[in-house]
């Protein structure tokens, strides 16, 4: 067997804490090693060309790429190997970045670990077999969870592109939070008007099926053929969809968990959302004194909300502006940590509102004390370094975004992951901000973290384009890592059948052994672990592969 080893410097990432020359020297000249090459970025065009030409030149039977984790660029490297005429399943990625160079700074130790990791790659890949990806049919249909602005944007695009859309909303009507906004910044329109326009648009498209007051109760299958059960008062509806967009939005932060703010205790303390809804019923008049508090439920580690909610500074400024516009002689003071008016036009809005007389004070507010005459705010002015007490008639809390209420349930059903703040986790924060680790399942809008309306629309439509790109051909290739049975070893005990969550294992009464339905198998390996006679295994993950990998890792170097 002729093996080629390709070591990536990853710029500084690997090179600075692993001795690349030492690594090369160790493997050069060992049995079966046909070539050992290194390059600053293996993923770049010259790096790829180096791998391709080496496969051809040395007639390589195995390609070991020692670089970043397999989670990155795997399809690209597989295609490269395939183009060079080698079966892509004879490629082995070894992570000497995430698993090695990033973990410590001791060059000697890292280098010796990198040697072990690459050796493990060589030992295990010796047992690899050429495999073929399977072509499966893909349903040109999509399930969208959440009928807010993001989900509606996604639905409109997909339906126009000819995809059958099932839009599921748990509330009675579409529109999410935007529907309830009296004045949407920066378009200065009623949220209800924006939502009704979009709803009308969706209703003209006959391939959008809207389910309000509905929820997802069960979910299974695999990319191209996901099975979802939607439940509402009419009963259960089962749909087969090619892919899913999760756009279940956020929950408004509930400030009552901070008792020092008196929210829910004193009626004169309200949230920005409540201000939007009942602006005209509030007891404010000319001469009234109003305080606006930023960062309520954001940038607050004590209550487990360390993140910035991205929209509340603008909401606070908008609140102040609305009061000032109505009552020129009111006194409105905003208490902030940093003013984050970053959206397009936000900074100008902030400046212009200051000119209208809205005051901004950089402060930490420790508590609100309700008095007969008013609410006393106690805090520290962080610019003057002075404690203060000031009395107000009304306090508006600019509340942040908390994770959606159904996050845990949806994550469980779809088998997708939540991040540390319990929003949904994206596949890559920069370049794949709306993908999940599962093919065909996307997360859009605020359910993956705070966003403003424009950003939520961008997310909705952008994730819809990605899903369309996966569905529009009508077929897809799936990985061949499915279970297979050695009929000579199978005793017909049927333990694997019970272990299989995908219901892919069927018992053959005549032969008294089990067989695997490849289309249904998810490749989870549960059967493999359960089988007492080692009769069932996963293609690409045979026991010998794992055993030899472990041997190589534990052997003395």
């Amino acid at each position: 067997m002729r093996i080629g080893i390709f070591i990536c410097h990853c710029g500084h990432n690997i090179k600075s804490t692993v001795d690349i020359e030492g690594l090369k020297g160790y493997f050069k000249g060992l049995n079966n090693i046909a070539c050992v090459e290194d390059y600053p970025f293996m993923c770049s065009e010259p790096g790829q060309a180096l791998i391709k030409s080496s496969i051809e030149r040395f007639g390589l039977g195995r390609v070991i790429i020692a670089a970043c984790t397999k989670a990155l660029h795997q399809d690209m490297f597989k295609n490269l190997v395939r183009d060079a005429g080698l079966n892509p399943f004879l490629l082995r990625r070894v992570s000497i970045r995430e698993h090695c160079s990033w973990t410590g700074e001791d060059i000697e130790k890292n280098t010796s670990k990198a040697i072990r990791l690459i050796r493990a790659g060589i030992y295990s890949s010796a047992h690899y077999e050429p495999l073929e990806e399977k072509q499966v049919e893909v349903n040109k249909s999509a399930l969208i969870l959440g009928g807010g602005i993001s989900g509606m944007s996604a639905a409109a695009f997909l339906a126009r592109a000819g995809i059958e859309v099932y839009l599921v909303e748990k509330e009675k009507e579409l529109g999410g939070h935007v529907r309830h906004l009296e004045d949407v910044w920066p378009v200065r329109e009623r949220g209800k008007d924006i939502i009704e326009r979009m709803t009308e648009e969706l209703k003209t498209l006959n391939n959008v099926h809207i389910f309000t007051s509905s929820r997802l109760v069960s979910f299974g299958g695999s990319f191209g053929n996901y099975e979802a059960v939607i439940e509402n008062s009419g009963g259960e509806i089962k749909v087969i969809v090619g892919g899913v967009i999760v756009a279940i939005g956020f929950t408004a932060f509930d400030p009552s968990i901070k008792p020092e703010l008196q929210y829910g205790i004193d009626k004169r303390v309200i949230t920005t959302l409540e201000f939007e809804e009942k602006m005209h019923e509030l007891p404010i008049k000319e001469g009234s004194r109003v305080a606006i508090l930023h960062c309520i439920g954001s940038r607050d580690e004590i209550i487990g909300r360390p993140y910035c909610s991205r929209i509340c500074c603008i909401n606070a400024i908008k609140t102040g502006e609305a009061i000032k516009n109505r009552f020129k002689d009111s006194y409105v003071e905003s208490f902030y940590m940093d003013v984050r008016s970053h959206p397009r036009g936000g900074e100008e809005f902030y400046e212009d509102t200051q000119e209208k007389g809205l005051l901004f004070t950089r402060a930490n507010i420790s508590e609100i004390i309700p008095e007969q005459g008013g609410l006393v705010l106690r805090g520290e002015d962080t610019l003057l370094g002075m404690p203060f007490e000031r009395e107000f008639d009304l306090v508006v809390l600019s509340i942040g975004m908390s994770p959606p209420k159904d996050n845990q349930e949806i994550a469980g059903l779809l088998k997708i992951t939540l991040d540390k703040d319990r929003f949904f986790l994206e596949a890559h924060p920069k370049l794949r901000p709306y993908d999940t680790a599962l093919k065909g399942i996307f997360i859009a809008g605020t359910c993956s973290g705070p966003k403003d309306m424009e950003e939520s629309i961008n997310h909705g439509r952008a994730s819809a384009v990605k899903l369309y790109g996966l569905l529009n051909l009508g077929y897809a290739f799936i990985e061949p890592f499915v279970a297979y049975v050695d009929p000579k070893r199978c005793s017909g005990c049927r333990m694997c059948e019970q272990a299989c969550v995908a219901k892919a294992i069927k018992f053959d009464e005549g032969l008294h052994i089990v067989r695997v339905e490849e289309a249904a198998c998810m490749g989870c390996g549960l059967c493999n672990a359960t089988c007492p006679s080692s009769a069932i295994a996963l293609k690409g993950y045979k026991d010998t592969i794992i055993d030899d990998e472990i041997s190589a890792l534990t052997e003395a170097v």
Partner: protein, 428 residues
């Protein structure tokens, strides 16, 4: 849909995302890039916030995908010079500047660069002029396409007609072709996505900060090149051969500043400064770092935590923008009013790094003129928050920084949105 053809103008992360998404939707794409390689601003960066993964590692594979995708035609050194409406699409005239290297023959071996008599004598734009290059060169090792080019202004033979042409002698495949001329192509496209990107504010006019006059005053992008492994120092943070120990960062240079005509927030400078502080702490253990700010805008996912970690790792934040930077015997001195303590402070430093704000790319105005696109007061292409990629011209869409400052994640999402609108337009 194979007969549908869309033009994407700009080969940065916005244009690349748009082109790849369009191709995955079955559309034919032509990508125009005015420079010699795609990659845009992002490929100049060393690392990206808040994950600190290297820019090249995430972007180069996408660049290669553009080059290999059979549905994407990549034209470099090319810009549109005329765009006329024809039925629902556009007739576009494209000017293609000569590369003076035959792309079908060049193997990117690099012998020509070594042989060039101008080697080490021409300022290298990709490195923000911090390094020198020959007249025949490749902008950076991972460039796409992997083809050398001759800079006509720098080349002695092209500009003065006199050179021994050592490059021609060493070029095995005979790829160098001085006879190449500018070409004008005429094409029809069904729709256009514009993604010309951005430039950074030139702080020379802010004399008090000393940029251009004092040694050791750099812009953020220049510092980025100093950190980068493909940069002039191979990624070692060194100025004139010495490793600096004291760093002073100034934020909002050319943002939130009426004097420079930019009232807007540039959205990325707070975070790229925090990133720089992290990179320094990682490479120079005993570094002393100060950051001057007005408000720290760490608004994106994971940004607040990143900012907090930067502070915890020992970077000092000072609220207040310095009044001046002056030369001293030992280096530089920054005078700043610390608004939290109310004191005037004088801080000695070796390097001052200006977090310069975003400006529309210099070509944006010309693009808007030939396409009749409306601009906002700063020259960014005008859009509306409920239809973030739709321009005033039907069938022309915009994404990325061209419509206003955005970080990379927002740029990627805006590119997806532009593709969605474009696809809807094509299906109407």
């Amino acid at each position: 849909m194979s007969e549908i053809h869309v033009l994407v103008i700009g080969g940065g992360i916005a244009g690349i995302t748009a082109a790849l998404e369009l191709a995955s939707c079955g559309v034919e794409v032509t990508m125009l890039e005015e420079g010699p390689s795609i990659g845009g601003r992002m490929i100049q960066l060393d690392k990206t916030f808040p994950t600190l993964d290297c820019s090249s590692c995430t972007l180069t594979p996408k660049m290669v995908e553009v080059a290999l995708n059979p549905k994407i035609e990549l034209l470099t050194l090319a810009m549109p010079i005329e765009v006329l409406r024809e039925s629902r699409g556009f007739k576009v005239k494209i000017r293609k500047r000569p590369r003076y290297v035959d792309m079908s023959r060049c193997t990117a071996c690099g012998l020509c660069s070594d042989a060039c008599v101008m080697k080490g004598r021409i300022r290298h734009e990709f490195d923000c002029n911090l390094s020198k290059r020959p007249a025949i060169y490749i902008p950076f090792p991972q460039a796409v396409p992997q083809k050398y080019l001759i800079d006509g202004m720098g080349c002695l033979f092209i500009s003065r007609g006199k050179c021994k042409k050592a490059c021609v002698d060493v070029c095995g495949p005979n790829a160098i072709d001085f006879s190449q001329k500018e070409e004008i192509l005429e094409r029809y496209y069904d729709s256009i996505i514009v993604a010309p990107g951005f430039d950074l504010y030139d702080p020379t006019e802010k004399k008090e900060l000393g940029y251009g006059t004092l040694e050791g005053v750099l812009t953020g992008l220049e510092f980025e090149r100093l950190c980068s492994v493909t940069g002039p120092t191979g990624g070692e943070i060194k100025l004139n051969g010495k490793v600096p120990r004291r760093f002073y960062f100034i934020q909002c240079v050319g943002s939130r500043d009426r004097q420079t005509g930019a009232r807007f927030c540039s959205r990325v400078c707070c975070m790229y400064t925090a990133k720089h502080a992290n990179i320094i702490k990682d490479r120079i253990k005993d570094a002393q770092i100060y950051i001057s700010y007005i408000d720290v805008r760490a608004y994106g996912k994971g940004y607040e935590e990143f900012y907090k970690n930067t502070q915890d790792a020992g970077t000092f934040y000072i609220r207040g923008i310095p009044g001046e930077v002056v030369q001293t015997k030992e280096g530089l001195l920054v005078r700043v009013e610390d608004m939290l303590s109310g004191e005037i402070r004088e801080i000695d430093t070796d390097v001052v790094i200006l977090a310069t704000g975003v400006r529309p790319h210099k070509g944006t105005e010309e693009l808007c003129n030939i396409m009749s696109l409306k601009k906002d007061e700063y020259g960014f292409i005008k859009v509306n928050a409920t239809e973030p990629s739709r321009t005033n011209i039907e069938g022309i869409f915009v994404c990325g920084m061209a419509s206003g400052p955005k970080d990379i994640a927002d740029t990627v999402a805006s590119a997806g949105e532009a593709v969605a609108r474009c696809m809807e337009y094509l299906k109407e």
